[in-house]
């Protein structure tokens, strides 16, 4: 059973517009959420994270929103650039030392294409 779900395999956006990538989770014990970006033939690169004590975290063009009641988070990229074209992975964990709770659990990813 998937604990982290990215239901949109792909997304296409025009350059300069907003990209919104969505992620849902089922485990209510998750308290830390991350977004990664992956280019072909490279490992995932950490992008931005958010703790469950917050509902928004912003870093430049990237903003992550967390809705705990809906078990939903989203990544907003504004404005989108062609270089943002990549696969984006959502990940979640329980920040608890010991046992399996500290594992990062990943979704299947969403491929973003930003067209010039």
């Amino acid at each position: 059973d998937q604990q982290v779900k990215q239901n949109s395999p792909s997304l296409s956006v025009q350059e300069g517009r907003i990209s919104i990538l969505n992620c849902d989770y089922t485990n209510s014990m998750f308290d830390y959420f991350l977004w990664y970006k992956k280019y072909p033939a490279e490992g995932p690169t950490f992008l931005i994270s958010i703790s469950s004590i917050k509902d928004k975290n912003e870093d430049g063009r990237f903003t992550v929103f967390l809705n705990k009641s809906a078990k939903h988070l989203s990544l907003h990229i504004v404005p989108s650039q062609p270089g943002d074209s990549a696969v984006y992975f959502c990940a979640a964990s329980e920040v608890f030392y010991g046992g399996s709770q500290g594992n990062l659990i990943f979704g299947k990813g969403t491929k973003l294409s930003v067209k010039p």
Binding site: V4, Q6, Y32, L34, Y36, A41, E42, G43, P44, T45, F46, S49, F89, A91, S93, E94, V95, F96, Y97, G98, G99, S100, Q101, G102, N103, L104, I105, F106, G107, K108, G109
Partner: protein, 113 residues
């Protein structure tokens, strides 16, 4: 600061042969992960280390996979014998604090023929 280093980048082997992957994490990162990634899927955890201790190896197929992290720094993941279904990208990641930002290496793409 150097990132996570993995080697080799690519490996092609015949089925039933052994193979090993090596990972050097970021200095000072006590948490080390090995993930497997199949095409079109997200990374799936194989094993997590805290220092030299394997704290979660529940997803590691122990009949053919083994891992070690000597002295709590470098780590090696081994498959013996390899099967066709093991063809995937094997990713190593390290983190300064368990459950938070993990930094990935470039991965090793394994092809079993």
């Amino acid at each position: 600061e150097a990132g996570v280093v993995q080697s080799p980048r690519y490996k092609i082997i015949e089925k039933k042969q052994p193979v090993a992957f090596w990972c050097n994490p970021i200095s000072g990162h006590n948490t080390l992960y090995w993930y497997l990634q199949n095409l079109g899927q997200g990374p799936e955890l194989l094993i997590r280390y805290e220092n030299e201790e394997a704290v979660d190896d529940s997803q590691l197929p122990k009949d053919r996979f083994s891992a070690e992290r000597l002295k709590g720094v470098d780590s090696t993941l081994k498959i013996q014998p390899a099967e066709l279904g093991d063809s995937a990208v094997y990713l190593c990641a390290s983190s300064p604090r368990v459950g938070t930002e993990a930094f990935f290496g470039q991965g090793t793409r394994l092809t079993v023929v």
